[in-house]
């Protein structure tokens, strides 16, 4: 549905004619994103009525006020690379592309924090922070993903959380345009320097993002102050390749000074999980990976990957007992040789206690350098293999015992789909991997990736069936907390997560919807990746049901 001329002009007056469009050619590049086939049966979701490129907070505030005045849905995004990141509940919606808000406003080295605008990517901040001996955690979806998207609006989990904690816990303060258009500074004191999310001003971190992020359903975070952590490596680094090698071969020559990487392997999954728990609790790790180790050379394409796999299978010695699934990556770092030595000793002692070993293949110098880059920085996400993947479980902040249960059970379910040919099967029984937070002191998140082909009907159907199975509240998984997926987004439009899980967990969804109604009285902040004020579709007890909203109307 087009905006009325008066409505469009009101928006145009704010940003200027150069930064607003209603041209179908351009609009249709704002509704095609991975996952759409899964959610909507089509690559296109709703075509926005207009897209705007605002440049500052004041403009956004004015835009949101216009949306309230005329009842127009809006949704902001930075890179837009996520499930449902561009989805709108109906065609009377606009998107705010925040590309022009791309400044690192401050790196406060003394207080170990940075203030950034929405289009600043995690990798860019990692590069800049390194110049000050500082670091921000990796994000899984690669180097175009924004810091604010990760830390304030969305949910993700990654291997550096063992050291840097989860994204939501790193937000110190924000400048936030509420769904009413009011500008709220949280975390700021009289100095206005956005230092503490828990005061001296409002402590609203939980409401801002809740467990899994409001994904635009709560307005626009236009500026955020985020924690930084120590970086023990060089201020600059270089990944290189030989002339003629494909660009994917670029890598560090060695693990940077200040860090060491180890890949111990264990006898079986049980032992791996026990040892992992101890490794994480020892407070020695800067990053930790289980089941995904990143030591292998990234091949240039699927054909080369397949050839490499076949070669590896031919040379695989089952009697050797070393597998990726039972191997973990441990990155340690320190400001001094003594600190590194101490941490290495701890790591080796724990490995020895659980009869672990260090295979040559996984612990070769260049392999470790590859693992370091893969696990510490926001490199690319691999959608090449099949075209899409489901970050399938991502149970929130679970206890190690719960995660172990999940790892074992979900692994079995996934294996069934792999064996049917619907999901990519790498062999070796890949399991749910852990992303421990704060040295496992607050649990960990588990995530496994089911790679499917969204344009293969059988594979797509299996993906939906798989999600139904995993998110059935009566399933034997016994998750704790609110499940989520899709890059850890709520999948409300599809499997009615909130309706099904709310009653099991203190009716959290009732409160979530109350918050939504309170912050957004006119329901103008799009909720398709959050929670609607009222449920528009009948809950089907976990069954996959394509939503009646968010789909494109006939053009």
């Amino acid at each position: 549905m087009k905006l009325a001329e008066e409505e469009y002009k009101a928006l145009q007056n704010i940003v200027g004619s150069e930064y607003i469009t209603r041209e179908p050619v351009i609009l249709d590049t704002y509704n095609q994103v991975w996952g759409n086939a899964f959610f909507f049966d089509e690559k296109h979701s709703v075509r926005p009525a207009a897209v705007l490129l605002p440049v500052n907070t004041a403009e956004i505030s004015e835009i949101v006020k216009v949306c309230n005045k005329y009842g127009i849905l809006f949704k902001p995004f930075s890179s837009g690379f996520e499930y449902l990141s561009l989805s709108l509940a109906n065609t009377r919606g606009i998107l705010l592309d925040l590309k022009r808000m791309n400044q690192i406003l401050e790196i406060d080295a003394k207080n170990m924090r940075a203030v950034v605008e929405p289009y600043v990517s995690v990798y860019r901040l990692q590069m800049e922070a390194a110049k000050h001996g500082l670091y921000t955690g990796r994000i899984g979806v690669g180097y175009s993903a924004g810091v604010i998207a990760a830390e304030c609006c969305h949910h993700g989990c990654q291997h550096t959380m063992v050291f840097t904690s989860g994204y939501g816990r790193n937000t110190l303060g924000v400048e936030w345009v509420l769904p009413t258009g009011e500008i709220l500074n949280m975390g700021s004191g009289e100095s206005g320097d956005l230092f503490s999310a828990d005061g001296p001003g409002f402590s609203l971190r939980g409401i801002l993002r809740g467990r899994t992020g409001a994904n635009g359903g709560h307005g626009v975070v236009t500026k955020a102050s985020v924690k930084l952590y120590p970086w023990y490596g060089p201020t600059q680094w270089e990944q290189t390749k030989k002339p003629g090698e494909p660009p994917s071969f670029g890598q560090l020559e060695k693990v940077p000074d200040g860090y060491k990487v180890f890949v111990p392997s264990f006898a079986d999954l049980d032992t791996t999980l026990e040892a992992s728990e101890e490794l994480c609790r020892a407070e020695i790790l800067c990053a930790f990976g289980i089941g995904i180790i990143g030591t292998a050379q990234i091949q240039e394409g699927n054909d080369e990957e397949w050839a490499a796999m076949q070669k590896a299978r031919q040379s695989f010695d089952p009697a050797g007992g070393i597998s990726v699934a039972n191997s973990v990556v441990c990155v340690i770092g320190g400001q001094s040789a003594g600190e590194l030595e101490y941490k290495e000793k701890c790591m080796r002692a724990i490995t020895e206690k659980w009869d672990g070993s260090f295979s040559e293949q996984f612990n070769e110098s260049r392999a470790l350098a590859r693992a370091f880059a893969d696990i510490m920085w926001s490199n690319g996400v691999n959608l090449r293999a099949t075209g899409d993947f489901l970050p399938s479980s991502s149970s929130p902040d679970g206890s190690p015992a719960m995660l172990k249960n999940l790892a074992l059970k979900e692994g079995e379910v996934k294996k069934r789909y792999e064996e049917s040919g619907a999901f990519l099967s790498m062999g070796g029984g890949r399991m749910v991997s852990w992303r421990p937070e704060e040295h496992l002191s607050i649990g960990a998140q588990g995530i496994s990736t089911a790679q499917y082909d969204p344009y293969d009907p059988a594979s797509l159907a299996a993906a939906r069936e798989f999600i139904d199975e995993l998110f059935d509240p009566k399933s034997p998984f016994k998750r704790y907390g609110v499940p989520s997926r899709g890059g850890c987004l709520q999948i409300e439009p599809v499997t009615h997560i909130h309706q099904n899980w709310g009653p099991l967990y203190d009716n959290y969804d009732v409160y979530l919807r109350k918050i939504k109604r309170m912050l957004d009285p006119n329901t103008v902040a799009d909720w398709t990746a959050y929670i609607p004020p009222e449920y528009p579709d009948y809950a089907k007890d976990g069954d996959y049901v394509l939503p009646s909203y968010g789909k494109e109307e006939d053009i």
Partner: protein, 424 residues
């Protein structure tokens, strides 16, 4: 191929946006991370390679039509291939080929830009892209006493290309290139007024028929002249002779060299010696058509199949052009061999270089965008401490000169031939 043949690619573009940046592995400066001039300048996602996949898919689904906006998006692009390299680090997709097919479709449907029509009219009439007279084509050699291969014979033909032949500020470079090869003992000549455009730039605009026409013309005239080797100082011409003709199954039966490759060979043979110091701090700009777009064409015929469940592979295995096999080291080796010259690299180089701004017809249709793109590159040259920027293509030099003039930048702009000449 048609644009519809890339449906798989359109569907599988995930909007990861990596096409907008150089590959993260090679990012060295946060000020110079972007790879796509079009997106950097115009902001809307449509202007990125991902956006092109999106508009193609919408066109395929009859959701949009080719209109003024479509053409604006499609032609505000240098076709420089940076997106293609970055995309292919993560995906087995062909964004550049899709863009090419979209342009061909536009031309086939008569959806033309007025400036292109003028340029192509000139090409058809005068065999050059500069809207100049065919009769003036060989005038840049006046006084050189050069063999004219339309009536004489030589082992090597020197194909100057349209830009060097007609641009008053570049003619001296064409002369210098020819002279230094001849002085090194190369049996070389030119086609004089019979030299015609390679057709490469017209092809990039979408005029596929012009490429075929000129490929056939070149093959015939050069065969008649008995030429065994072609040397060109122009990166665009190099890519046309080396890559595009092969792509359309018109591969010439002769060796094709960019002049840097031939100079390099002569240096190794001791036929070119550097005797003079050239005390300048210089950085090298990789011309897209010599680098990533100069990578040999790879023919493939086969089918898509699956492995390990739904993993998409090809039978037989398909080699993608990922930009790694362009000409990168040769010009650098030459520069590093020049006495007194201090060579420094910019942040975006080789496969992931930033375009000069002239490519894809942008210099004709959107000169302001061409100059903006060039000026961005000059900023990068300054950022690494260069006093001069050198390239190996007439289009690059032209656009850098324009960008420097427009932005009051006093950086020196060289063609690599000029530095070689200074050192001899």
């Amino acid at each position: 191929m048609t644009y519809q043949d890339y449906t798989h690619d359109m569907q599988r573009c995930t909007r990861c946006s990596y096409c907008k940046w150089i590959p993260y592995r090679y990012m060295k400066s946060t000020d110079f991370m972007e790879g796509c001039p079009s997106l950097a300048r115009y902001n809307w996602h449509a202007y990125s390679a991902s956006g092109k996949f999106n508009i193609a898919y919408s066109l395929l689904k009859d959701r949009i039509e080719i209109d003024e906006t479509f053409l604006d998006v499609l032609y505000h692009c240098q076709m420089d291939g940076s997106c293609d390299v970055s995309c292919k680090v993560q995906q087995d997709l062909e964004p550049l080929q899709l863009m090419q097919e979209l342009r061909i479709k536009c031309v086939e449907e008569g959806q033309l830009l007025p400036v292109h029509m003028l340029v192509i009219e000139g090409l058809r009439k005068e065999d050059n892209m500069m809207q100049a007279l065919k009769a003036d084509r060989g005038k840049w050699t006046e006084g050189l006493n050069t063999k004219d291969l339309s009536s004489e014979s030589a082992e090597v033909v020197y194909h100057a290309g349209c830009r060097y032949s007609y641009d008053e500020e570049l003619k001296s470079i064409a002369r210098a290139g020819l002279t230094l090869l001849r002085d090194a003992g190369v049996d070389i000549g030119i086609m004089g007024t019979e030299e015609a455009c390679c057709g490469g730039r017209a092809y990039e605009l979408g005029y596929a028929g012009e490429l075929t026409k000129y490929a056939e013309h070149q093959i015939e005239t050069l065969r008649t002249a008995g030429v065994k080797t072609l040397v060109t100082p122009c990166a665009d011409c190099y890519a046309a002779f080396k890559v595009l003709y092969d792509k359309i199954d018109k591969k010439p039966e002769m060796e094709v060299f960019h002049i840097t490759q031939y100079i390099h060979r002569l240096i190794e043979e001791g036929k070119i010696r550097f005797t003079r110091e050239v005390p300048v701090t210089v950085t090298y700009h990789d011309p897209c058509h010599l680098g990533r777009l100069g990578e040999p064409w790879i023919h493939w015929q086969g089918k898509e199949t699956k492995a390990m469940g739904p993993m998409i592979i090809h039978d037989p295995p398909k080699k993608f052009r990922r930009g790694a096999n362009g000409v990168y080291e040769t010009p650098r080796d030459i520069l590093k061999a020049i006495p007194g010259l201090r060579f420094i690299e910019m942040y975006r180089i080789k496969e992931y270089t930033w375009c000069c701004g002239a490519g894809g017809g942008v210099i004709d249709t959107h000169p302001d965008f061409a100059v903006w793109t060039g000026a961005e590159r000059l900023k990068e040259a300054h950022a690494v401490g260069a006093e001069a920027i050198v390239s190996a293509c007439g289009w690059c030099k032209r656009n850098f000169l324009d960008a420097a003039a427009e932005s009051d930048d006093d950086i020196e702009v060289y063609d690599i031939i000029e530095l070689v000449q200074k050192a001899m």
